[in-house]
């Protein structure tokens, strides 16, 4: 294409004057984009016309531009407000929508109220149940204790009533004058039973130990016993025992009696 000829044809002036239709204008545009010379010509033409307009007082007034900018501003504002309005109605719709949600929420509230009520009741009941259970446990403990005591009592009576048993009542020594305990010694089996009747609670790490005393001999170990059990069977002792005594010893007992720690002591009745 001969660009100079193209420019000289006056088509660019026609383009700016609005003489060309849309398609013709687009053709000029594509040629201008390919040939910077054409684009320059178009720009220069337009600038010349603007200058001419300025010099002849034909420039468009500033007022028109102000009106346009103001309208654009108002339009944007309206657009913005519409957007806000739109979002509001959307929110409202969401709030209104399904009727069943109202019913559901009422049911839910009622249900919650009942739940709270029943829960409070249940808590009270379970508290009562707990108390009763505690009472029961206490009672059971008491019964067990009583049962045990009864067992011991029966056991003691049995020992007392047993014809084969030798009964020795041991009285409190100077160390513990109020204490006492009983020993049953079965002459046939030689088994020794102790009935812990009234001995003070042994200090920690200590235990009571029963001794059989024979004339001219050191005390013979008849066994350590548990302070908390009323009647218990201890060791088998044979021979001519004349007395029984209980000493306080270190836990686990000792082969040699600590005589000065004698709590109770009793002699066999001479038959």
């Amino acid at each position: 294409m001969n660009i100079k000829e193209y420019i000289a044809s006056g088509i660019l002036e026609s383009y700016l004057a609005g003489e060309l239709d849309k398609e013709e204008m687009r053709t000029v545009d594509s040629i201008a984009s390919l040939y910077p010379e054409v684009q320059d010509q178009l720009n220069e033409l337009r600038v010349s016309l603007n200058r001419y307009a300025a010099a002849t007082g034909n420039l468009p007034d500033e007022e028109t531009l102000k009106v346009v900018l103001q309208k654009i501003k108002e339009d944007e504002k309206e657009h913005f407000l519409n957007a806000i309005d739109g979002s509001e109605t959307n929110f409202r719709r969401v709030n209104i929508v399904p009727r069943w949600t109202v019913a559901a929420s009422i049911l839910l509230s009622v249900s919650i109220a009942f739940n709270v009520f029943f829960y409070a009741q249940m808590m009270e009941q379970s508290k009562k149940v707990r108390l009763i259970a505690q009472e029961n446990a206490l009672m059971a403990q008491n019964i067990e204790k009583v049962d045990q005591q009864l067992d011991y009592a029966e056991l003691r009576i049995a020992h007392f009533l047993n014809k084969d048993n030798v009964h020795v009542r041991m009285e409190g020594s100077d160390l513990s004058p109020k204490s006492y305990a009983n020993v049953f010694w079965n002459v046939k089996s030689n088994a020794v039973f102790i009935s812990v009747d009234n001995l003070p609670e042994p200090p920690a790490g200590h235990q009571y130990q029963l001794w059989a005393i024979k004339p001219g001999q050191a005390p013979i170990d008849a066994g350590i016993f548990d302070h908390s059990l009323l009647v218990q069977e201890l060791k088998v002792i044979k021979g001519d025992v004349i007395a029984f005594a209980v000493t306080l010893e270190k836990e686990g007992g000792t082969p040699i009696a600590t005589v000065d720690q004698t709590y109770v002591k009793g002699f066999l009745k001479k038959s």
Partner: protein, 211 residues
């Protein structure tokens, strides 16, 4: 309005435009003194994409003269053309997102919008009523381009314009400022249609040589 990264990427030659975006205010004030302003179109496209109202100001300063003429060709009345130009500029703003450079230049796109606005106007009831009343009065719209009072600030430039022959000025006025089509000019000045185009070109060449 801040620079949007994604918008910037949409445009070709973005760094070039960014440079102008920063300087466009100073540049636009010097607009009438710039010969080679190939960047005006780029700057306007950039600002439109950025939803910057500065785009409308740039369009107005650089294209209002030619767009007004395009509208006047259709509506024939300056006051109506002024209204249509206002409407068209608002449409340009609203439709800016739809502008596609691949389909043609900015000017072509704006001319299309202006023409559509002008045609819409000629179909409006107001416009038709006005046409009727004017026909009744039998007023013929005759160009008095030469008689226009020049209120331009640039006295020096006005002096230079005196060197431009009257018939050249008349052609420029009719074609570029008063909305006359080539056939209309041909009829008005009694010149063959084929000659109108070349004479206008000569007039413009003369104008450019003067300034």
């Amino acid at each position: 309005m801040g620079l949007k990264g994604n918008r910037l990427q949409k445009l070709n030659n973005s760094s070039y435009r960014w440079l102008f975006h920063n300087n466009y205010k100073t540049l636009s004030t010097q607009l009438h003194y710039i010969h080679k302003d190939s960047s005006i179109e780029d700057r306007i496209i950039y600002l439109l994409a950025d939803q910057d109202k500065g785009a409308i100001r740039l369009i107005y300063e650089n294209y209002a003269v030619v767009l007004f003429n395009v509208i006047l060709r259709i509506v024939k009345h300056e006051d109506i053309a002024k209204d249509v130009l206002q409407e068209a500029l608002i449409k340009i703003w609203k439709k800016s997102a739809k502008f596609e450079r691949s389909k043609g230049g900015l000017y072509t796109w704006m001319v299309t919008i202006c023409r559509n606005s002008a045609i819409d106007k000629t179909r409006s009831r107001d416009f038709m009523d006005r046409q009727k009343s004017e026909k009744a009065l039998d007023i013929v719209f005759v160009s008095d381009g030469l008689g226009r009072e020049a209120k331009g600030e640039d006295d020096y430039f006005q002096e230079l314009l005196q060197e431009l022959p009257a018939h050249h000025r008349q052609l420029i006025n009719l074609s570029f400022f008063e909305g006359y089509s080539h056939p209309e000019i041909s009829a008005q000045l009694n010149i063959p249609l084929g000659t109108v185009k070349t004479r206008i070109r000569t007039a413009i060449q003369h104008l450019r040589s003067v300034i």
